[in-house]
Symmetry: C2
Subunit: 448 residues, 2 copies
């Protein structure tokens, strides 16, 4: 067991609250600060993509017995449903039978987590704005205004779980030898809303992640338990087919009629939603180191913000907690080593999921509509079922396993090189499940 510490967590988001529960259960005093009001008391909507929980996230919840409670507010999603104009729906299963990710509304999940943390004895300070941190004394500087009077709050340890624009990291960034990058991609996103049917049922298959892939833009939808879907339009900020070009209503309506004809009935409030909800930005943020001595550590988006196309922002953040707890178990009161080993293990994996997430926009927005890509997936699935010990597809490694992201990425790249050669075989369309293809893959695998 560890000697009890007085710990502050900045940020009451998903990672901050889950970390708080873990640390409280270890016997520490845990205070969580957030500049926003209590999420349970406000109307949370308008700029969130639905979350998908996969195995990495579940593992973190499992250890403290929260899986059942959270599953109750989620919906299993076992496939993509691809919407092409004037074509029947095409379903693409994510994994083996029984493998699914879970759609969760960020607001609902976060409310639940704050409840659970409070029940565990964590103390929340909402509407408390942390502006700065003194790293070597683990002191928070908190106050109403950035240029106003601040209170000094002294702790033993501070965790920065305050997201992509972390104030805690902001202070660390001004140290020598702190590497940092923020890179915005040219795409933005906007939340739209598919209401429930009058009888409370869903207007689309609720167990699918719906995608309308249109190459450089796409629409997607994920179900909520109340019969609604949270819908997200991803498109460039500027240029052809961009947010910039949809500034008047008639253009918006024409655009949806042309590219998303089958959404006419399911998006009755399109115009209202579109102009009321903000257009949000997408950024990849990387930094290192994540810890200052044994005093301060970053976790979740504050350490590694990624684009949402693999649905792994929360899963990666929860996995940070799993690894941190492993290090705590291993090193006890030696917080120096705990923080050092935590960041060493997590950094390459955070970089890998950043890369995978960035690449996955092209997979979702273009490849899911590409016959050649679908054939490749079919071959991988067929071979994987014949040789499950020899071939686990990349998506399954990332989503349904706990293999480090960096290994999944490396193996995925190797598999992709093999599949490029397979796809070049003459007449592959007709002999895709032949012994010849099987033998060739087996041979190529041995060259590893």
């Amino acid at each position: 067991m560890q000697t009890p510490q007085k710990i502050a967590i900045v940020g009451s988001g998903l990672v901050g609250t889950l970390l708080a529960i873990y640390l409280k259960k270890l016997g520490h005093t845990v205070h969580v600060y957030d500049r926003s009001p209590d999420i349970r008391k406000i109307n949370f909507s308008g700029r969130s993509i639905n979350l998908v929980m996969s195995n990495r996230g579940w593992r973190a919840l499992e250890k403290i017995g929260l899986v059942d409670e959270i599953k109750q507010i989620g919906i299993p999603v076992d496939k993509r449903a691809i919407h092409l104009p004037h074509e029947p729906l095409n379903y693409q299963y994510y994994g083996k039978e029984g493998e699914a990710i879970f759609s969760l509304s960020r607001g609902n999940l976060n409310k639940k987590m704050v409840d659970l943390a409070e029940q565990a004895g964590v103390v929340f300070y909402f509407n408390h704005k942390v502006w700065d941190v003194t790293l070597n004394t683990a002191t928070l500087h908190e106050g109403e205004e950035e240029r106003g009077v601040w209170n000094e709050l002294k702790y033993d340890k501070i965790f920065g779980a305050d997201g992509a624009f972390s104030r805690v990291r902001h202070r660390m960034q001004r140290q020598s030898m702190f590497n940092y990058s923020q890179e915005f991609i040219p795409l933005g996103y906007k939340e739209l809303h598919i209401p429930a049917n009058a009888d409370g049922t869903h207007k689309l298959d609720k167990n699918s992640l719906h995608i309308w892939p249109r190459r450089n833009f796409m629409l997607m939808a994920l179900a909520n338990p109340d019969g609604t879907f949270t819908c997200t339009l991803f498109m460039p900020h500027q240029g052809e087919n961009s947010f910039e070009t949809l500034q008047d209503k008639s253009k918006l309506v024409d655009f949806f009629a042309e590219y998303f004809p089958d959404t006419k009935e399911v998006l009755p409030n399109l115009i209202e939603d579109f102009y009321r909800n903000p257009t949000s930005y997408l950024v990849t943020m990387k930094c290192y180191p994540w810890a200052f001595e044994d005093k301060v550590a970053l976790i979740g988006d504050a350490a590694h913000a990624i684009v949402p196309f693999y649905g792994h922002g929360m899963n990666a953040g929860f996995e940070d907690i799993t690894i941190l707890m492993e290090k705590i178990e291993q090193y006890g009161d030696d917080w120096h080593t705990i923080f050092k080993e935590y960041q060493l293990e997590r950094k390459p994996n955070a970089d890998a999921i950043a890369e995978l997430s960035y690449r996955n926009f092209m997979e979702m927005s273009a490849k899911t509509a590409d016959a050649k890509f679908l054939l490749q997936k079919k071959i991988e699935k067929w071979f994987s079922e014949k040789h499950p010990e020899k071939w686990v597809p990349l998506y399954s490694r990332v989503t349904f396993s706990h293999q480090p992201y960096s290994e999944a990425l490396a193996i995925g790249d190797f598999q992709n090189q093999i599949m490029e050669q397979i796809m070049q075989m003459p007449d592959i369309e007709n002999k895709w499940n032949s012994e010849e293809v099987e033998t060739k893959i087996l041979n190529l695998l041995q060259k590893d």
Copy 2:
């Protein structure tokens, strides 16, 4: 001519003062703010690498007639002098006869530039600390302390010439769609000092850049007009042969005796210098955009901080000014377009010199001691003299021309591919200046 503007420049370094002179000559009101005291009134030393002025820098000075004044305080350097243990000096000329870079002490040059700016009518506010900027109103927030009382200073335009850790950029960085990265390299540096002989002459050849290349670390020295040399030790912060391992005096003395035996007489104050002068960090900083509307623009290190191994930090900053002035001449009072075109033209070139600078550490610290590399340089020089219109070596493109850095980098990479093939020719050591080699290079060039 432009309509006179009230312009603030943050930073009285080399780029800030030269920009001030240019803008003042265009008829604007120019105020320069600096958090430090007037450099003319302090003892400036201890953490600076000598500057080398090359053609890009001279061009910016030439337009306002400052070349002669600055040449008086510099020393021409036309070659590298390579010091290997127990071997004679090896001289490597930089360019053609008469081509040289100029060694200048940062302190002396900066003092001179402030004098010249003041004479031109620029007003300096030293010891004035700018903490923040309101971008859309071009307002500086200045005061004694970050958390104290601030004055608001309203301008028409603000230039951030406040270096790698720019406060102006710091505000821009907190905007959406602002890309930013800072990456420290594992090497640090420390200034050392070679005094003059009793008669005021130099202890080493003053017209050489002296290098002691030792692969993962190196020592270099550049002459000053007073008979001294400013010497810089570059080495890793940690690991074998690092600053970390030289924490006691006997280790330091042994280290220099082993690796730099010929410095024993020229570095009489080694121990004192080494432990008094700080170990400094080296960072590459990139960002984009460089301008906010027609109000605020970044220039020099504030826009693109690079490592010092090509000696182009100042030259690149001065070239920013040259290009900015071209845009001013072209677009007059349309500052929106001036800033937009300035950043569009400069950004790829800033990225290119960052890459070239990073790569040049390996050239200086390892390749200058490598026989194969020296042969390659000899072949390039020989071919270039035979076909000056077909082959300008990379170093000359970067240092003795005004070709955009991005073009120089691309052509340099192409030339290097050719040279790799040439170096693989059997018996190249003996036939390096043969017709066969000449013909092969000519053929490879045509494949472009």
